[in-house]
């Protein structure tokens, strides 16, 4: 039961990753890409959750914890850049 769900989750997350990636590529603006990057981080948290379930090793949750923090930090950084006028008009 759980194995199947894990497999299915992996598949769903992989597809989601692909979709997000498309947004990352096509943009069109920097904020769009940043959102996509955020989403990738969130998906990574998801991957880690599934992986924790499938492997039974909980140590990887720490990675997810740090990931949640830093992805936010990156977004803040980008937002700061964009607000200052960088990277949108002459991108």
């Amino acid at each position: 039961m759980l194995e199947v769900s894990i497999f299915v989750s992996y598949v769903i997350l992989s597809i989601a990753l692909g979709l997000t990636f498309v947004r990352l590529v096509i943009g069109p603006s920097l904020p769009d890409r940043v959102v996509a990057l955020e989403m990738i981080a969130t998906l990574t948290v998801g991957f880690i959750a599934v992986y924790t379930l499938s492997s039974g090793v909980t140590a990887f949750l720490d990675v997810a914890m740090v990931l949640a923090l830093t992805a936010f930090l990156a977004a803040v950084g980008f937002a700061r850049l964009i607000t200052k006028g960088g990277g949108v008009h002459h991108d």
Binding site: I15, A16, L19, S29, L43, A49, L53, F72, I82
Partner: protein, 133 residues
Amino acid sequence: MTDVVVSLFLLIGAGFMFVAALGLLRMPDLPMRLHATTKAGALGGGLMVIAVGLEFFGDVAVAARAAAIIIFIVLTAPIAAHLIGRAGYFVGLPMWSKTLKDELKDRYDPQNQVLLSPGEVSSEDKPDRDKAE
């Protein structure tokens, strides 16, 4: 029993993740993409982490970490969305053509980084501003 619950949380979470990703791709402008990722992403991630917490139910370390992750996601996702959303808005990214109204329009002065409320007068009209600034 646990397996079923865990699977449920996991699959629903993954489903929301998918929705978020698809929304990100399909939505026509930045704010709406943010709608998708902020809500569905946070919820999906949260549910999946809850699934982990349930699977290792009773293990304080896991529970604490799961809780921390969820709190973190819930805490940061809307802030990030706000930051990116406003940034995108202020630098003038076009909104979807079918947007009904925009009360924020022309309220932001990037020079002074002042955002006026609807009734306020634009700062340039205020006589007492220090011109040297």
